[in-house]
Amino acid sequence: MTATGLAQASRMALACVFLAAAPHKILVPAEFAQSLSSYQILPDMLINFIALTLPWLEMLVAFLLLCQVWTGPSLLLANAMLTVFLGALVLAYVRGIDIACGCFSSLRTPSDAMTLYIARDAAFLVLGLIAAWLHANGLKRKTLDG
C-alpha cells in the first residue's frame, strides 16, 4: 500500500470511529450529560453545553475526514478530542470513580471495563496520530514535488 493509500485508510478508520460514537449521544443528550457529570471534571454550568455540542463536533470531524475537506484541522480536532477523552478516563480510573464511559453509548458498564476503555482510547489516539503524521508527510511531499 502506498503512503497516500495508507494515509487515506487511517483517516477513514478514524472517521468511522467518530461516526460510530456520535449518533447515540446526539439522540440522547441527557444521558450523555449524565455520563459527563459522573466524571466529576467539568463544572455543572458547562456539562449540558458540552453534551449538546461535542457529539456534533465528532460528527462534523468524521464527515470532513470522509470528504477530505479541511483535513488538517479535522485531524487536529480529532486528536485533541481523543487526548481529552483518554485523560478523562485515566483520571477517573486513578480517582476510583466508577463511571459510565459515555464513549459510544451512555450505558453503565462494570468498573473492570475501565482499563479496556483506556486501552481502546489509547489505540484510537495512536490511529489519529498516525493519520495526522501521514497527512503532514503527504503535504510536505506535495510541496517538494510542486
Binding site: A30, Q34, Q40, M45, N48, G72, P73, L77, G96
Partner: protein, 241 residues
C-alpha cells in the same frame, strides 16, 4: 481565492459544531437546558440495604454508626465524613484487617461519591462477605453529607484506631486508655506517620494526627483514634526507651 488559514478552519469547525448542536437541541421536543442549574443533591428513595441521609446522620449523632469511605485515599484526604474510616474498595483485602475490629458492634455505613458510584455497594458486599451483618449503603454519601452541612474532616486517616473509643466517644480520656495502650505505642505501620504520642515512659496517648485536628468541623463523636489492630502481642520492643 485564498483559503482561510488553518486556525480559522479549526475555529470554523468548532463554531459549526456548536451551532448545529444548539440548533438541533432547540428543535427537540425534549430539549436540554443550555446551562445546567446547580442542583443540590437530593437522595432518591433508598433501595435494598441503603440508608437515608437522615437516618445516617441520626445514627452518627448517637454514636451507633461507623462510616466507611470506599473512595481512594487521596479523595478521603481531601474531605470525608467526620469520623469515617478509609477502606478503599480496591484495596479491601489489604486494608480490611486494619479496621475490622472497629466495625463490629456498630451499624456500618459505606459511602462514596456520585449517583453512579458503585464503590460503596461493592464495599458493603465485601464487608458482608466477611461476616459483618449490619452494613448499609449511603448512596452518593459524600455529596449528600457535605451539601447538608454535616460534619466533615480532611486529612489522612490514622492507621491505628481505638475501637473502644467508637463505643464511648464522648467520654474519651487519656487515663482510661493508657493501660491498654501501653502495649501499642511504638507499633506503627511501616508507611504510617511517625507517632508523636510516645511519652518518655514509652506510653502512648491517643492523639489525632495534626491534619485531623485542624479540620474545622470535627464534631462527630466517633472520630477514630489510636488502635492496635489486629491485637498484637504486648511484647515490648527493644528500641523502646
Amino acid at each position: 481565492m485564498k483559503f482561510p488559514s488553518f486556525t480559522l478552519q479549526t475555529l470554523g469547525i468548532l463554531a459549526l459544531a456548536a451551532g448545529l448542536g444548539l440548533a438541533f437541541n432547540a428543535n427537540r421536543p425534549d430539549s436540554l437546558p443550555l446551562v445546567r442549574v446547580h442542583e443540590v443533591a437530593v437522595q432518591a428513595s433508598p433501595q435494598d440495604n441503603e440508608i437515608t441521609l437522615h437516618d445516617a446522620a441520626q445514627l452518627s449523632a448517637s454514636g451507633q454508626a461507623v462510616f466507611v469511605d470506599a473512595r481512594d485515599a487521596s479523595d478521603y484526604a481531601q474531605g470525608h465524613i467526620a469520623g469515617a474510616l478509609s477502606l478503599p474498595a480496591f484495596s479491601f483485602t489489604q486494608d480490611f484487617p486494619l479496621v475490622r475490629d472497629s466495625l463490629h458492634n456498630s451499624t456500618v455505613i459505606t459511602y462514596c461519591d456520585g449517583e453512579h458510584c458503585e464503590l460503596s455497594r461493592d464495599l458493603a458486599e465485601q464487608l458482608k462477605a466477611h461476616g459483618l451483618r449490619n452494613v448499609r449503603v449511603l448512596k452518593n454519601g459524600w455529596t449528600l453529607w457535605r451539601d447538608k452541612g454535616l460534619p466533615t474532616a480532611t486529612g489522612q486517616e490514622p492507621l491505628l484506631r481505638e475501637p473502644q473509643e467508637l463505643e464511648h466517644p464522648a467520654q474519651e480520656s487519656l487515663s482510661q486508655e493508657t493501660p491498654r495502650l501501653e502495649h501499642a505505642p511504638q507499633q506503627t505501620m511501616p508507611d504510617g506517620p511517625a507517632p508523636e504520642q510516645s511519652t518518655p515512659e514509652g506510653i502512648a496517648h491517643p492523639q489525632e494526627p495534626a491534619q485531623e485536628k485542624s479540620a474545622p468541623q470535627e464534631a462527630t463523636p466517633q472520630e477514630p483514634l489510636l488502635q492496635k489492630t489486629p491485637p498484637q502481642e504486648s511484647k515490648p520492643t527493644g528500641d523502646q526507651s
